[in-house]
Amino acid sequence: METLVKLSFFCFAAASIALAGSLVSYILYTVGRVKVRQASLQTSAGTTVTASSAEFTPGWSSAGKFGSMLAWFGVVLMGMSVLFRTIAAERGPYSNMYEFSLAFVFVLMLVYLLFERFYEVRQLGAIVMAIAMAMALYIWSLPAYMREVDALNPALQNGPLMTVHVSSAILAYATFAVSFAAAILFLIQIRRNISWLPSADMLDDIGYRAVTIGFPMLALVLILGSIWAHQAWGAYWSWDPKETAALFTWLVYGVYLHTRSLRGWRGQRSAIVLLIGFGAVIFTYYGNYFFGGMHAYGGVN
């Protein structure tokens, strides 16, 4: 088991490097290049006048392809890390923040790459990979003892429910991260109308489509969590802080879905709601650090 745990960590380390390279590539591709043009003019008085101007141009297309390639490498390595961890623990990697974050980075990268293929645009990678990189740095910051595989305490010993409940949460959060990236680019695009960024329509669609995956998933998280709570604690809803934080996140995205059908709210205001929604996701994700209650399993309380 120790060998598998180490293998898992080494795969994560390698994935982190690929992720960093991918992030840099995507940023170069998305931000673009600055071309400085200079022109000189000889005047009749014998002096030379020089003028210069800066022009923004699209980034190297090869940077985008390189970013995608490195991201796929990273996904494969992260997948291996999660797989080795699963085999070592003989259960899904969901029992503490180290395992949960490992799985989240894997799913986040995979979900983004699927969106990239579906929409055939790469620019969201600059933001989504930044989120993945931030999460990877968080994993690196966790104490080493959390990398050890611990047995589950009695309350968590429900393999099927824990697997489906936590997997749904990870998938929901990953899609919300993609919608967050789309919202940021949308707000930039409606102001700057940058030619090499995806159209505002497409970004609006990406954000919406991501939420149509994440919103039902988060509903499933709440329902499965209720089923599990009923089975373990005798009550399907106890106003536990982690439960209500997830409910708050779900309600924010409920607001978003309603804004899309309202003239004057669709577009910029919807995008702002997506930003708030992802803030709620982060709040829920890291809630173990400051919530009490029955979800204090993250290994950080």
Binding site: A151, D204, P216, G234, T244, F248, R263
Partner: protein
């Protein structure tokens, strides 16, 4: 003439009708729904923060916010009037909005308007045109064939020499919004039913070898035959197991061994494993050797006021107007040893008798060894032995079936609405000499996916019919004739 008619109509409406109409419109308003959901979200956020230290961090960082922080910690948000009111408001809005939307949605599904206008086609964000060396009827059949293969329902309507076309798919998915919204109401109903007609005992203590009544008119009693726990080498628990016998009106009705996540259910009552602890088995008699108490006193549900590491228990003795307090040895001597004034050793208990009629009277206390007796005033206390108890949760919730049904409807409604989007295409086929001119446009304003689907349909039409379509994209305009209203249901 029309204006006079309009004036006459409004003059006929009574004030009550106008008020009802205003209220109806309010509840159907998407804008109002957004504000209501947002308000609910804010309340949920406040309640969540109340369960954390985060507000106190704010109070520490910005001292003048401390009164607001104290107010927040003192406000039971999740049982407050504002929360009840906003939930009630949302329920009413869902019902009214549903009633308002049903006719429109049903008409769209069953009998949509086929006729369109050239103005719509010419000003649509996206449209496609092509010509065919056929009659309009043949062109219509071609569209029917191609769209039919893509699961579109295709309707035609002749107008003069033109044929108007309407095609849509996933029309039944529009109904998905109803089970989803109904589910929200059912969940609230399930919660109310559970709270009103169910019960939940969070700290149901059963010492080993003892029987305890569940109460709540169930007729049930629970006996703990044996409690067992297992631990790993690193000190983490593996399992807590309680071997139980369940009685109903004195008869055995069930026996089972329960662990966390594996409760026992009998009828509408479920028994859950929660925790466990120590007990002190006591035999208490009076001066005439009459038995006042012969059972276990659970320890750990209380602690000593002087030493929080010393588990304690309380037992009332109503026959002699007394209360007996029991304190066990300190469980963590390394922590604040100066508080351990009793300095009890293993196998010892501190027992104290208080007069419940005259609480100011001096209590009588003593330390008793296991197996021995001690006289405390007019009663004798024998510390028989240490045992264990299991801490169970016993619950009955008749709202559960409603909740599960609502959960199914919620997920099914969401999946239907989101994963089967309603796609619509309108068009006009006109005669142009020997040719049929076809113009099609999707109802997909600001809908990138819908427009992409339309392009794919056009590509397939080109392949199937051997035509070349001209696709026109137009910039968005404000004040579009198909502008969406501010109310659901239109």
């Amino acid at each position: 003439m029309a204006q006079a008619t309009l004036q006459n109509r409004s003059a006929r409406r009574s004030p009550i009708e106008m008020i009802v109409d205003r209220i109806w419109r309010f509840f159907c308003s998407v804008r109002a729904a957004i504000y209501e959901i947002a308000f609910l979200a804010v309340l949920v956020l406040l309640g969540t923060l109340r369960g954390s230290d985060a507000p106190q961090w704010l109070g520490n960082a910005i001292p003048f916010t401390q009164p607001a922080v104290d107010w927040l910690y003192g406000w039971d948000v999740f049982h407050s009037l504002p929360l009840m009111l906003i939930l009630a408001l949302l329920c009413v809005a869902i019902v009214v909005c549903t009633i308002n939307r049903v006719p429109g949605i049903w008409k769209t599904i069953s009998n949509p308007v086929v006729r369109t206008t050239r103005g719509f086609l010419e000003s649509s964000e996206l449209s496609a045109s092509y010509s065919m060396p056929h009659q309009p009827d043949t062109a219509a059949q071609g569209i029917q064939s191609t769209l039919g293969k893509n699961r579109y329902r295709v309707l035609h309507e002749p107008h003069g020499s033109d044929i108007h076309v309407f095609a849509d798919k996933n029309r039944l998915a529009k109904l998905g919004t109803f089970p989803f919204h109904l589910a929200l109401i059912l969940m609230l109903i399930g919660g109310i039913v559970g709270a009103r007609y169910g019960f939940r005992e969070n700290s149901f203590v059963v010492p080993e070898g003892s029987v305890r009544d569940v109460g709540h008119n169930t007729g049930l009693s629970v006996e703990l035959v044996q409690f067992s726990d297992s631990w790993r080498e690193d000190g983490t628990p593996v399992e807590y197991r309680s071997d139980l016998v369940l009685y109903k009106n004195g008869e055995v009705v069930d026996e089972d061994s329960i662990t966390v996540n594996n409760p026992m259910t009998h009828g509408a009552v479920t028994i859950y494993q929660s925790s466990y602890g120590q007990t002190a088995r006591l035999l208490i008699t009076d001066n005439q050797d009459r038995v006042l108490f012969d059972d276990s006193v659970p320890l750990g549900l209380y602690t000593s006021t002087a030493n929080p590491d010393a588990p304690a228990g309380v037992q009332m003795l109503p026959q002699v107007n007394a209360q007996i307090n029991v304190i066990a040895p300190d469980e963590d001597r390394a922590n604040a040893p100066e508080l351990d004034t009793l300095n009890l050793q293993g196998g010892q208990m501190f027992v104290q008798v208080r007069d419940t009629v005259d609480p100011t009277s001096e209590p009588v206390s003593a330390v008793v060894e296991q197996g021995e007796s001690v006289a405390l005033g007019d009663i004798n206390v024998q510390f028989v032995r240490e045992e264990r108890f299991t801490l169970l949760q016993v619950a009955s919730n008749p709202g559960i079936p409603i909740f599960w049904a609502a959960s199914f409807l919620l997920v099914a409604g969401l999946a239907t609405t989101f994963y089967f989007p309603h796609r619509r295409v309108r068009g006009i086929i006109s005669r142009d000499g020997d040719q049929a001119g076809v113009t099609l446009a999707p109802l997909a304003r600001w809908d990138w996916s819908g427009q992409r689907d339309f392009r794919r349909i056009i590509e397939q039409l080109e392949r199937d019919l051997g035509v070349k379509a001209t696709v026109v994209e137009r910039p968005k305009e404000t004040g579009h004739p198909m502008a969406e209203p501010d109310q659901a249901g239109a």
